[in-house]
Amino acid sequence: MSDWEPKIVAFLCNWCSYAGADLAGVSRIQYPPNVRVVRVPCSGRVNPLFVLKSLENGFDGVLVSGCHPGDCHYISGNYIARRKFATLKTALEFIGVEPGRVQFSWVSAGEGEKFAQVVARVTEDVRKLGPAKRLVKTIGGGQ
């Protein structure tokens, strides 16, 4: 377990956060390699079920990131997403999933530096929490 590294999935919107991640890359900004990126058209595309499935399938943390308020390519996708995230976060924490497992951020296409910081922060939070156990489905491990 000592060599355990947090495994984090990041759902990044195509127009801002994904481009932000790209900028972090081309700018050669260092950030932890723990995150696997899934590009989505908009943060509003992120069904809370994606987050739950990620946890169920063994990700230790989930990051969802979209355009800053007012910057959404689809005008209001991120505003709708913000309401969904607030509800999802409340539900997860209420049933006892550790705060910090699931996080949300706004990262614009120009914020390569911020993207690296967000990833570092989420990775550190999840590392402190340790491997995810709650909601994780183990298959093949018997009943």
Binding site: N57, G58, T138, I139, G140, G142, Q143
Partner: protein
């Protein structure tokens, strides 16, 4: 020859430990006010007084069961033979249901090894029903609150003790070996009390209605508008099927861990009340509406099962009424079926034969 003995309630633990040493024992356990079947280790876990909400079928046919596990090319059935299964506190309706399920899973051309393995050397300790509920109708389905069918040993609650009687050779052998020395025989007073409990229970049940006409009536009612009416009172959930001691339909799923070749094939209870139950890969669903599905449930229990196995797939435990969220009452359905069947005979003779079959 059946033998009987007296087990004082504080001594029930002796029986339970005799059982657990030889068997994997299941019995009714109280969980937050519901009585469910769980594996038990000692007598004080048991809630023998209450009516069991889940049925005893789960001891032999669990809701979720791994059939095999795989990892790439290797696949294997779960290894290791469990201890044989025993159930304590099965009401006569539940005990009888195991015989019906055995017709499906344990005998005939197709049999289920998992069921057989558990059921064949099992021991069922029945518990007579001293206080049948308003929803009980075992007497209408051909048994009674103290019917021994399906039980190896039958317990009768006589207040401070149980009278235990063996009903089969297996039960007899178990009692003999479990109670080698200090056997307490029931006194005449005990036996009188047991007899009294029996006649009181019988008297408390609703007078026997006659459901013998159900099957003939059903044969005429496939296209009847009655099903539309009946479906109006049903939510199409699966509570009845999952609590039913004789419902036995299941689904098989392969669950593979994402990104690996590791997984398991798992058998899970399924219900004909779910639209998904009959949905085909093309998207077509031969039972698209609630009407089709509730008809299937009634037909399967009271017509197709009779065709296949000679009796109805209902033991009258009444769970489907008692625990139905909207008080759907199968007794009322059967009465309406009989009445509608009579009317249909008068009006149109020779309704076209139903060629669709159970599924």
């Amino acid at each position: 020859m059946s033998s009987s003995l007296r087990i004082a309630k504080p001594d029930l633990d002796q029986l339970v430990s005799a059982l657990t040493s030889r068997y994997r024992l299941f019995g009714p356990v109280d969980v937050d006010g519901s009585t469910v079947l769980r594996e038990v280790k000692s007598a004080d876990e048991l809630a023998l007084g209450a009516a069991l909400d889940g049925s005893v079928k789960a001891a032999f046919f669990p809701q979720t069961e791994t059939l095999l596990t795989y990892d790439g090319t290797v696949s294997e059935a779960p290894s290791g033979r469990d201890k044989p299964t025993a159930v304590i506190g099965a009401r006569p309706c539940d005990a009888r249901s195991l015989l019906l399920l055995d017709k499906v899973f344990g005998t005939g051309k197709y049999w289920d090894p998992l069921w057989q393995r558990r059921h064949d050397d099992s021991l069922v300790i029945g518990l007579g029903c001293s206080a049948p509920l308003e929803t009980c109708f075992c007497n209408l389905m051909g048994s009674g609150p103290f019917d021994a069918e399906g039980s190896d040993i039958m317990l009768t609650d006589i207040g401070d003790a149980f009278v235990a009687e063996s009903c089969t050779d297996k039960g007899e052998r178990f009692l003999k070996t479990a109670y080698k020395s200090q056997v307490q025989r029931p006194s005449q007073a005990d036996l009188d009390k047991a007899g009294e409990a029996r006649s009181k229970a019988l008297a408390s049940l609703a007078p026997a209605a006659n459901y013998s006409g159900v099957k003939t009536a059903l044969a005429k009612l496939w296209d009847s508008a009655l099903w539309d009416e009946i479906a109006l009172g049903c939510l199409s959930c699966g509570a009845c099927a999952y609590l039913c001691p004789t419902c036995h339909c299941f689904d098989v799923q392969d669950e593979t861990a994402p990104g690996t070749q590791q997984g398991r094939r798992v058998r899970i209870w399924d219900t004909c009340q779910s639209a998904l139950f009959t949905k085909e890969a093309s998207g077509h669903n031969p039972r698209p509406s609630a009407k089709d599905r509730i008809r299937q449930r009634v037909m399967h229990k009271f017509s197709y099962f009779v065709d296949n196995y000679g009796e109805a797939a209902c033991v009258g435990c009444g769970r489907c009424i008692r625990l139905c969220p909207v008080d759907f009452d199968v007794r009322v359905v059967l009465e309406r079926v009989i009445a509608e069947g009579r009317r249909t005979k008068d009006k149109e003779r020779g309704t076209k034969k139903d060629v669709r079959h159970a599924g």
